[in-house]
């Protein structure tokens, strides 16, 4: 243990602790910008400078480990002046469109400038002229606003191990960019949107569909249907000023009706459907000897990650479409038929906690209804801003249900929104499919929680079903490498790209804090507990769908509407082939 004094107060911390962390223990908040909990400190911005007695230069407290007897000062005239100057320098090439900026109400740079008492900028305004990167279907980068803190670079490389973003050039020319500046849309970016969560300013945002959706709603010739993902109901309230984790299912449906959507359904319905198909697929693969472990396919970030980095494992991924896309395919077939509507006049909108869903909806194969299955994807943040724009008093809305036909759901569906939830939901149904009986204790605690990788097993008919769950793509690699080496002991694996699962998706209210995400997740488990139906196979709306339209899970119609295939990306197979030729010649 190491004892030091910070601003005259003694504190004892373990070796390796940084000054910034030690200061927090005694409630001293050192201002910082590039530092962020959950990311490896980088020491880029200099805002967290402190003075150490006996040292000539100030030091960056986020990267400086404590030393025995150290005397640290976190705020004096010299420090305050330098911090102000650093902010002024950042502001000298930062756009001033604050009123219309995406982050006008939650800009960390603005907050810092205000907190640090920056009242005038002594430097000449010299805006850089960097072009927006609009190559991606999901995420827009505006390098003009970038403050080069490197948080996006760290989350993309260290947490997600995708490596789409990095610094390039040096000195005054330093920028954050993609490989060869080809743009996110031409990179390995999986559209998880974690970079949006960590960006302190509006340099990274989602590609918005708000205008398109308003236009569809106000077009009397169009019938606009909307679906909402599980994780939206525990985050939308938060985005509109309620405490984090508030469950707002009923208010959410009511608000959507008020916004003018013609039919309000719920993605949870198709989450139950996913379980029926995926559970059946798992049982079939076990019985008939298909590729195991089976890996979930509801997360489009994970799917694109696999297509880039694990093209050799694509046969392990379930062929089931995600709940969003299953819903989309049914909206323009099953629903159109039931409601007597021309599918050409249906506009299918989804509200998602996710940025990758925007990409998924645009995948060329997602047209199995004969039309674009999902026309527009809105994030939780976008729908919150539409609700505000419409002047809806969200907090005081009465609860309303979704339309039953494609809106009734089980508790198994709602926990899709949190890491481990799909696994738990699948086990509840797979057990029934294997044994013919319902699993009695359906709260499967070992797959819950926020540990990076969790494993469990369930006994079913004398067989041990081994399962694993990973969230965050860096964690997923651990399970994937096992499969590659041929020593994976599991039958079924759930992978979610975002830390925390969809509750921490790239479209959620901003925040990279895992405890905040956990709070949202716990609300989903609470909703599950309180629902009358908690097993997907007992959802009466799903039973009706199979009886009146689809036939049976994995049947012909299901195969056409609800299943898909995957393609290796970025020339990985080409490169492998070339390497093979090279080694042969060598």
């Amino acid at each position: 243990m190491i004892t030091l004094t910070i601003d005259g107060e003694e504190v004892t911390v373990s070796e390796g602790t940084t000054i910034l962390e030690a200061a927090r223990r005694i409630n001293i908040k050192i201002p910082h910008l590039c530092y962020m909990d959950g990311l490896v400190p980088h020491g880029a911005c200099g805002i967290c400078l402190v003075e150490v007695e006996g040292e000539r230069n100030l030091t960056r407290s986020c990267v400086r480990p404590v030393q025995e007897g150290m005397k640290v000062y976190t705020s004096n005239a010299r420090i305050r002046n330098i911090r102000k100057m650093l902010i002024e320098l950042l502001l000298s090439d930062h756009p001033t469109d604050c009123f219309t900026c995406d982050r006008s109400l939650n800009c960390e740079l603005k907050e810092l400038a205000s907190n640090l008492g920056v009242k005038n900028i002594r430097y000449e305004k010299t805006l850089n002229q960097r072009k927006k990167d609009e190559t991606s279907l999901a995420i827009i980068r505006n390098p003009e606003k970038c403050v080069l803190c490197g948080r996006c670079v760290r989350v993309c490389n260290d947490v997600q191990t995708v490596g789409a973003l990095d610094f390039a050039n040096r000195g005054a020319e330093l920028i954050v960019t993609t490989g060869l500046k080809k743009g996110l849309g031409n990179s390995e970016c999986v559209n998880c949107g974690q970079c949006i969560h960590v960006c302190p300013v509006a340099a990274i945002t989602e590609k918005k569909s708000i205008d398109d959706v308003w236009k569809a709603i106000s077009d009397p010739a169009k019938h606009v249907v909307v679906q909402e993902a599980p994780a939206v109901r525990v985050a939308l309230g938060e985005a509109l000023g309620l405490p984090p984790g508030t469950l707002v299912t009923g208010k959410m449906h009511a608000a959507l009706k008020k916004l003018g959507f013609d039919t309000v359904f719920d993605t949870n319905f198709s989450a139950d459907l996913t379980i029926m198909e995926e559970g059946s697929e798992l049982v079939k693969r076990i019985k008939e000897g298909g590729a195991l472990p089976l890996i979930t396919s509801c997360c489009p970030g994970w799917v694109k990650f696999a297509e880039h980095f694990y093209p050799d494992l694509l046969q392990h991924i379930s062929t089931c479409k995600s709940p969003q896309q299953m819903f989309g395919a049914l909206a323009k077939t099953y629903f159109a038929e039931k409601a007597g509507l021309n599918p050409a006049n249906i506009v299918s909108v989804s509200v998602m906690p996710c940025t990758a869903k925007k990409f998924e909806a645009q995948r060329p194969e997602m047209c199995s209804s004969g039309y674009r299955d999902v026309d527009y994807v809105l994030t939780t943040r976008e729908i919150a801003s539409m609700i505000k724009e419409a002047g809806i008093d969200f907090e005081n809305l009465p609860d309303e249900p979704a339309e039953r036909l494609m809106g009734y759901y089980s508790g198994a569906a709602t926990i899709f929104g949190v890491t481990g939830g799909v696994m738990e939901a699948a086990l509840r149904t797979a057990y029934k499919l294997i044994t013919g009986y319902d699993l009695e204790d359906i709260d499967i605690e070992p797959v819950r929680g926020m540990r990076g990788v969790r494993t469990s097993s369930v006994e079913a008919n004398g067989m041990t079903l081994r399962v694993a769950v990973a969230h965050g793509l860096g964690n997923a690699r651990k399970l994937l490498e096992e499969i590659r080496k041929g020593n994976s002991p599991y039958h079924f694996i759930e992978i979610m790209a975002c830390p925390g699962g969809c509750v921490g998706g790239g479209g959620q209210p901003l925040g990279f804090d895992i405890t905040l995400r956990n709070t949202r997740g716990r609300s989903l488990y609470k909703e599950d507990k309180n629902l009358p139906c908690r097993r997907s196979h007992q959802n009466p709306a799903i039973e009706k769908l199979y009886m009146e339209y689809l036939g049976e899970p994995l049947g012909e119609k299901s195969h056409h509407l609800l299943h898909t295939s995957y393609t290796p990306r970025n020339g990985v197979t080409d490169l492998n082939e070339i390497l093979e030729i090279c080694s042969k010649r060598a």
Binding site: N157, V162, G163, A164, L165, D166, F167, A168, N169, R170, T177, T178, G179, L180, K181, S187, E188, G571, V572, D574, L575, E577, I578, L579, I581, C582, S583, R585, A586
Partner: protein, 170 residues
Amino acid sequence: MTLSIIKENIKGIETEEEKLRIFCELHKIIETYKGSTGAPIRILQKAQELCGYLPEPVLMLISKELNLSLSRLYSILTFYHFFTTVPKGKYVIQVCKGTACYVKGGQKILDTLKRDFNLEPGGITEDGKFSLDMVRCLGCCGLSPVIAVGNDVYRKVKPSQLKDILSKYK
């Protein structure tokens, strides 16, 4: 051969067989340095010797073999002035922008090259004949402003002479 990466252009390499030969050379280079300290930089340097510049397919192969993202590799290569992802021309024009040459009109030469030949520092003409580098001193400040085309040095250059000078190179 249907490999899309083979179809990507590498300047100066015409046939697919030639490209494959380049990839095999590159593979050997990577094998030699893989795992050693500073491997990416050494490999980039050898790769640039091999192709004259760092074309995209070459970077993709290095990225794959070193298990290093393309963005990280790009980060490394853009840090050093030595590396270039743009091919060099048949003749490299060097324009001095050292103090003396700058005072005597080096910048005007650069402006003229941009205006009349659409050539900027780091760039190459459309026909691939000339590429342009800006340098800090060619060691003959008394003759400023100085430019060099290939191995030929031109002294006290006026922007109006550029057309004549460059027309000598076929």
